[in-house]
C-alpha cells in the first residue's frame, strides 16, 4: 500500500541495491515486475516466431519455418492478386476495337499506364525512356510516322516488327544502295536536292528533280511526301531519322538504310501489344483512325 510504503521510507535510510563504488551507493528503484514479464514474453514470442518463419541460418540456406512462408511466395501471391484484379481490364483491352479504346476512359487510362510500363521494359532501349528516339530509331513523340500513326497501325508495327526475319508478317521494304547505281556527281546533286526539299523546292525541278523522278519518286512519291505502305519517309518535312547534314544524307542514299525492329506479339502477348500501342499513340503524335479505315 502506498501509505504503508510511505511510513517505511519516511525518516529511514532509503533502500539501496547494496552496490557501492567509492562510497557511492545505488538506490533500489525496482523495475515493475510486469515489465520483466513483458521482456520474457518477447523472448518467448521471438522463439516461436523463428520456428514459424524462416530464420535460423544454416550453411547454405536457412530454416524454412513450419508455416512455409517465404518472401518469394509472398511476391508471387501479390503479383497474382494484381493480375487477377486486372484480368477484366486486360480482357477489355483485347476485346475492344483499338480505335474505340479512348471511348472508355477507364480502360484507356489502364492501357496507357500498362503500356508505359511495357514500353520502359521493352522499347526504351532503342526508342529512349522518353520515347524521343535516337538516330536511326524513330522519335515517337512527333507527328511523322514511317508506317502510319493510327493506333491500329502502331499495334501492327509492335506486333510484327519491321524488316525482321522472325515474323513473316513483319513490315518490309528495302531501299537500294544507290552508291552502286548512280555516279558520285549524281549522288552529290541528289543530296543537295533532297536537303532542299523541306524548304519548299519542287521535288521534280531541275537536274536533281530529274534524278529524283527516275530513282526516288517510285517510293517517296513525286511530291516527295513518302509512302506509308512502303515505310518510305516524307522527305519534305523537318524530320531526318538519319540526320540532315550532307554526309548523313549521302550515306543514306548511297547505302540505303535498313532499320530493323523485332516482332513483339509473341513475346508480350496481345494485351500488352495493344497497351503499348495505346501508350505510344497518346504521346503526342497519334493519328485518328478514319471512320472507313480497314482493320489493319
Amino acid at each position: 500500500m502506498a501509505d504503508h510504503k510511505h511510513d517505511k521510507t519516511r525518516n529511514a535510510e532509503p533502500e539501496t541495491t547494496g552496490h557501492e563504488w567509492d562510497g557511492i551507493q545505488e538506490y533500489n528503484n525496482p523495475l515493475p515486475r510486469w515489465w520483466l514479464w513483458t521482456f520474457y514474453a518477447t523472448i518467448v514470442w521471438g522463439v516461436i516466431y523463428t520456428i514459424l518463419f524462416p530464420a535460423w541460418p544454416l550453411v547454405s540456406t536457412a530454416t524454412a519455418g513450419v508455416l512455409g512462408w517465404s518472401t518469394r511466395d509472398q511476391v508471387a501471391q501479390e503479383i497474382q492478386a494484381v493480375e487477377d484484379a486486372n484480368a477484366d481490364m486486360r480482357a477489355g483491352i483485347v476485346e475492344t476495337e483499338l480505335a474505340r479504346l479512348h471511348e472508355s476512359p477507364e480502360l484507356h487510362d489502364f492501357a496507357v499506364n500498362a503500356g508505359a510500363a511495357v514500353f520502359r521494359n521493352n522499347c526504351s532501349q532503342c526508342h529512349g525512356s522518353g520515347a524521343a528516339g535516337a538516330e536511326g530509331y524513330p522519335n515517337l513523340l512527333d507527328d511523322a510516322w514511317l508506317w502510319g500513326g493510327q493506333i491500329e497501325q502502331i499495334a501492327y508495327t509492335v506486333r510484327h516488327g519491321i524488316r525482321n526475319e522472325d515474323d513473316p508478317d513483319a513490315r518490309y521494304s528495302e531501299m537500294p544502295g544507290f552508291g552502286e547505281i548512280l555516279g558520285e556527281e549524281e549522288i552529290d546533286t541528289l543530296v543537295a536536292h533532297v536537303r532542299s526539299l523541306p524548304d519548299g523546292t519542287d521535288p521534280l525541278a531541275g537536274e536533281g528533280g530529274q534524278l529524283f523522278a527516275d530513282n526516288c519518286a517510285a517510293c517517296h512519291g513525286e511530291d516527295g511526301r513518302g509512302m506509308r505502305e512502303l515505310g518510305a519517309p516524307n522527305l519534305t518535312d523537318a524530320i531526318w531519322l538519319y540526320g540532315s547534314d550532307a554526309d548523313s544524307v549521302r550515306q543514306s542514299i548511297s547505302e540505303g538504310p535498313y532499320g530493323v525492329m523485332p516482332p513483339w506479339g509473341a513475346r508480350l502477348g496481345e494485351a500488352e501489344v495493344r497497351a503499348v500501342a495505346a501508350y505510344v499513340h497518346q504521346l503526342g503524335g497519334g493519328e485518328e483512325t478514319p471512320a472507313d479505315a480497314p482493320a489493319n
Binding site: 501509505d3 541495491t17 515493475p32
Partner: protein, 519 residues
Amino acid sequence: MSDSSQTSLYAAREPIFPRRVSGAFRRLKWQIMIVTLGIYYVTPWIRWDRGANLPDQAVLVDLANRRFFFFGIEIWPHEFYFVAGLLVMAGLGLFLFTAALGRVWCGYACPQTVWTDLFLAVERWVEGDRNARLRLHKAPWSAHKARLRVTKWAIWLLIAVATGGAWVFYFSDAPTLLRDLVTFRADPVAYGSIGVLTATTFIFGGFMREQVCIYMCPWPRIQGAMMDEDTLTVAYRDWRGEPRGKGLRRRKGEGTTTIEAPEATTRAAGPKIGGRSPVIPMHFGETKAVIQRPKFYGDAPGDCIDCNACVNVCPMGIDIRDGQQMACITCALCIDACDEVMEKIGKPRGLIDYLALSDAPRERAGETPRPARQHILRLRNLIYFGLWSLFGVALLAALLLRPEIEATIAPIRNPTFVTLSDGSVRNAYDLRIRNRAAEAREMEVTLSGGSGLTVTLESAETGTVTVPADTQGLERIYVTAAPGDPAATAERTDIEIQVRDVTSDATTRVDTTFNGDDR
C-alpha cells in the same frame, strides 16, 4: 542497508484504492471529463453538409481518398503543413501550460487520466469506496467477490469497446460503418482497430493505471526541463504542516502568532475559513487576512495531523508531502482532500495547494508570496504564448488566404522538346489542377502574355478541361512554337500558363519555361 541477494530488483504493482473526494478540483475534473469524453464520443456523429459529392461528416479523416475534413475546412495531402503547424502549436501549448501550471495536462486532460478516472468511478460505484475495496481485495474469492469483479470488468469492457469503436468512426462515415460493424460486414481493419483500442483502454484504464504514467510515458521525464521555480504546481506547505502529528501531541493555540497576509497567500487565509473558496488562480485579492501560525513551528506541532487523507485519495499512490516527484500528475485531488480536513479541524485551507517553489522561502520567512498573476505572466510564458500565437495567426492566415483553385506545372524533360514535321518546336508539360469545389468544374487553360506560342491540351480539342469535384486533375498540355518564332530557336523562354475556372472566374497562373531547338 540491504544486501543485493535479499533485495528484489523487481517489484509487483501495489494496488491503489483511491478514496472518494469532493471539492473544487474534483468538480473541475468531472467537468473536464464530461467535456473531453463528450467531444471524443460525439464528434464523429456530427453532420455537415458539403454538397452531393463530398462526405457529410463534420470531422472525417478520409485516408483512402487522402482528405481531412473538419467542419468547413478541407485539408489535402499537400497541405499537411496545417497538421504540422497544429502539432507545433500543441507542443508549444504544452510547454506554456507546463511552465505556467505544471502538469495540468497530465492531471486533467490526458486520456490516460480521464479514462482511469472514469474506470475508478465505475470501480467505486460497483465495489464501494476505498475501505470496501480494500476489504474486497483482501477477501478470499467468493461468489460475492466474483459477482462484483465480473460486473466491474463488464462495465469497463463496455466503455473500452465504445472507446475503440468511437475511434474508427473518425475514419469512415459513422452511420454506414456502424451498420456494417453490427452486421459483420465492415473491413477487418475496423474490427482490428477496435480490438486493439478496446484492449489498451481496458488494460491501461483498469489495471495499468499509474504504471502507464510512471513507466511508459516519456512526459514525466521531460517535466523537469519544462518547469521552473515560478511554476504553480501542487505542493505541500511543510513549513506550516510540520511537525505533523496526531491527537495528544497537538497543543492547540499554544504559542501562536498572528500575521497579516494577502488573501493570495493561501486560499484558506480568506474570510471564508470553514467555507468554500475558489481555486487559487482566480483569487488575487489584496484583502488582508489573519493566519494563526505557530510561533516556533520547529517545536510546536504543525497543521498536518497526519490523517493520510491526501495519500488515500491519490490515484498515483504517492505522498505529496514528500515533495515534488515524478509520479505526481498534479490532479489536485489531495488539495481537495486536505482542505476538507483542514475545514473540519478549523485550520486554514491550503496546507496542500497550488504553489510556486520561489514563494516557499518567502512564506517560510513569513513574507507575502507574490500573486499568482506574476508567476503566470512571466517572460518565459509570454515567449511561449507569443510563439504559440504566431503559429496560430500564420496558420489562420494560410487557411483564409488559400486560393480557390491551384495549379502546378511540371515540364517533361525527356526530351526537352520535340521537332514536328512542319519544323515547329513543341514542349510538353504535366499540368495539375486542383478543384476544391463540390462539383466538377470546367478549367480553361491559356497562355498569358502576347507570345506567338500556342497551347493545346492532350485530351480536349477545346481549350478547357473538366476537373471532377474535389480532385486534382492531371492534364498533359503542349506548347508549340511555329518555325521562325524566336522561342523555337532560343534555348529557353519564360512562359506563363493561366488556368481559369469557367464557373467562378477564379484564375491562377503558373510560370514555367519553354525549351527551343538552339542547335
